[in-house]
């Protein structure tokens, strides 16, 4: 498929054109932190300062809090009022390849066996327009996790920075419709794109060797000493899980005011002690068990179930952790006991 191109000057008009059919979300710093917000129609300054959002785009499909359904206690009993379906079409502009890959990974869980209506209704109504990274963070290690600063596998469109223009790779049909009346990209643009991708690829300095990690983790699953040392400085807060693009755990809670109530779904974290708390006992009360679960779910259990490592190297957990607990150091330090039969 021939790629298209658009100059950085015309991005605003392109977004405006899309705004006629979609609710367009783009990165913004208005709220004091980099996040996706409804595009205000003119600000494209994010093209300069934007590296990645703090809250990952998964929040558009699995929001920090959402109403599942409401209910009323009438005289003749309860009456459950499900929420109306999400119809408004949305477009997320500026999704980084690591987050797009993460969305594809989370999709697997919400589509597997039982279909999750809340997540999928939003997911199927949203187009993802990727933006290649030109300035990866020191904490990013996407190139070691099977994706990269310009990987376009999981988005509808991928914009690759080639100087004062963007080369647009159309990945899906829905993406194609968006760029119908844009200019074709020339050979020379393609070459510039390749060169820009290569440059960005090399700027990712943090590396992680995940070869054989699944078996290493299975072998040292019961090595309490190792996990206690790894978890020593962790303060069990929720930053590295709630803000991780491949984490999807949620909590369900009810609230009732007089005769009307609501059931909510909200983010939850396996790092919290009450996550698995049962009245009689809590199988993961100790901190080292919870840290082990966090690491093993992503690098051992998910690969065992869906044959993909549930981490795309976005680096959020490394740069946002209050105590600089670094997943790449932990993975490298997992002892190799696979040789010794357990």
């Amino acid at each position: 498929m021939a790629n298209k191109k658009v100059s950085k000057k015309d991005i605003a008009s392109l977004l405006e054109q899309w705004r006629q059919q979609f609710a367009v979300f783009a990165p913004s710093r208005e709220s004091g932190v980099a996040a996706f917000a409804e595009w205000d129609g003119k600000d494209v300054s994010f093209l300069d300062w934007y590296r990645n959002t703090v809250v990952p785009p998964k929040a558009s499909f699995l929001p920090p809090m959402e109403e599942m359904f409401r209910f009323e206690k009438g005289t003749e009993g309860y009456n459950i009022k499900p929420r109306p379906e999400e119809e408004n079409k949305r477009l997320l502009f500026g999704v980084r390849p690591c987050d797009a890959r993460a969305i594809a990974i989370v999709d697997m869980t919400f589509k597997d066996a039982y279909q999750d209506p809340y997540y999928l209704s939003k997911r199927n109504n949203t187009l993802l327009v990727g933006l290649s990274c030109t300035n990866p963070c020191e904490s990013c290690f996407c190139t070691s996790m099977g994706t990269g600063p310009a990987e376009s596998a999981d988005v509808d469109l991928m914009l690759v920075d080639i100087g004062d223009e963007f080369l647009i790779e159309e990945v899906t049909d829905k993406g194609k419709e968006l760029t119908r009346d844009l200019k074709e990209a020339t050979e020379e643009d393609e070459a510039k794109a390749e060169q820009s991708k290569k440059a960005a690829y090399d700027r990712v300095t943090r590396k992680l060797n995940t070869e054989g990690i699944k078996d290493r983790l299975l072998a040292s699953f019961d090595d309490q000493g190792f996990w206690e040392k790894t978890a020593a400085k962790c303060i069990s807060c929720g930053i590295c899980t709630l803000l991780c693009p491949t984490c999807y755990c949620f909590d369900i809670s009810d609230e009732m005011v007089k005769q009307e109530g609501t059931r909510f779904r909200s983010w939850d974290s396996c790092g919290f002690p009450n996550y698995t708390k049962m009245p009689m006992e809590n199988p993961r009360q100790e901190k080292w068990r919870r840290v082990r679960q966090k690491v093993c779910h992503k690098y051992e259990f998910y690969p065992m179930t869906f044959d993909v490592v549930a981490c795309t190297g976005c680096g959020r957990c490394v740069r946002l952790c209050p105590v600089n607990w670094d997943i790449t150091q932990v993975i490298e330090s997992v002892p190799d006991k696979t040789g010794v039969n357990k």
């Binding site: 359904f69 309860y78 459950i80 066996a113 039982y114 059931r263 939850d268 009245p279 779910h297």
Partner: protein, 286 residues
């Protein structure tokens, strides 16, 4: 990996509960009650089927939701039952309900006891406290098709005589000549004439043979942890040992991530497992 059982979704949304009405409440022990209930929607009540060992998510709307096994047998579909021990927010709310109040019900979820694997075998049921609830569904299921199965041994125990659940069932099974009913308590009292001792020890005394048989274990985790070695000593292979595990659950369909043992989700890949399946992780994750 179980396939989604979507027959009973309300309006295509797996999280929406149906309304069910409580018809009878049986006080098993001061802390445990069995609720007899039926789905309010006529059509749904006729269509609803489940298998022994499956569980469901019960809601007290406005308070919360909690998973309990369906403790009645599919062979007696006139009503459904589930047993609740008063230990937390939702269970306390359930214990405040009376006959005629409405609860939310969604399910059935999870897999069930492998009836065809158990065909023709000697069955050894090992239960502890309220752990008898899921076993009870299978026991009545077996006794209603008695000729398909061979010997039936039931070893059931509780902390004290007052804590014995389903006393009326224990008596019925004791009278049934085809069943070897052994009841024990950890600590007897003066009116208690039966055996005294923890379930694993009593199981060792009963010493059921492992040939052509299967053991179904359910009770507090500490009892399960000490029962498996006893069964192994009696010659039971890991495949012959079945158990149904209890975990904190929110969604019941393998999405919310908390009921895992290793890469296995108790809600969707269980709650019924053979010891072979969970042997790797059970030592440190259960």
């Amino acid at each position: 990996m179980t396939v989604a059982d979507t027959r009973f979704f309300a309006q295509g949304n797996v999280y929406l509960p149906h309304i069910a009405v409580i018809e009878k409440i049986v006080e098993e022990t001061p802390g445990v009650r069995t609720f007899h209930f039926n789905l309010k929607d006529e059509k749904l009540r006729e269509e609803f089927t489940f298998a022994s060992g499956q569980f469901a998510q019960y809601s007290v709307l406005g308070v919360g939701e909690a998973p309990f096994c369906i403790s009645s047998s599919p062979t007696r579909p006139d009503h459904l039952e589930f047993a609740v021990q008063k230990v937390g927010k939702v269970t306390n709310a359930l214990h405040r309900l009376g006959v005629g109040s409405e609860i939310g019900f969604r399910g059935p979820y999870g897999n069930s006891f492998p009836l065809d694997y158990l065909k023709g075998k000697n069955l050894v049921f090992v239960g502890g406290g309220i752990g008898l609830a899921p076993l009870r569904s299978l026991i009545w299921n077996v006794l209603d098709n008695r000729d398909i199965y061979n010997k039936v041994d039931i070893v059931y125990g509780a902390r004290t005589p007052v804590d014995l659940c389903f006393k009326y069932d224990l008596e019925a099974w004791d009278k049934d000549k085809t069943v070897n009913m052994v009841t024990t308590v950890d600590r007897g009292d003066d009116s208690w004439k039966g055996k005294v001792g923890v379930v694993p020890k009593i199981l060792e005394e009963v010493a059921p043979s492992a040939r052509e048989s299967a053991a179904i274990v359910c009770g507090p985790p500490v009892m399960i942890r000490f029962t498996f070695p006893v069964l192994e000593k009696l010659g039971f292979a890991p495949e012959q040992m079945l158990t149904t595990l209890e975990k904190r659950m929110k969604c019941g369909i393998g999405k919310c991530g908390r009921c895992n043992i290793g890469n296995i989700y108790v809600c969707r890949d269980g709650p019924v497992f053979s010891y072979a399946q969970i042997k790797d992780f059970v030592s440190s994750e259960y």
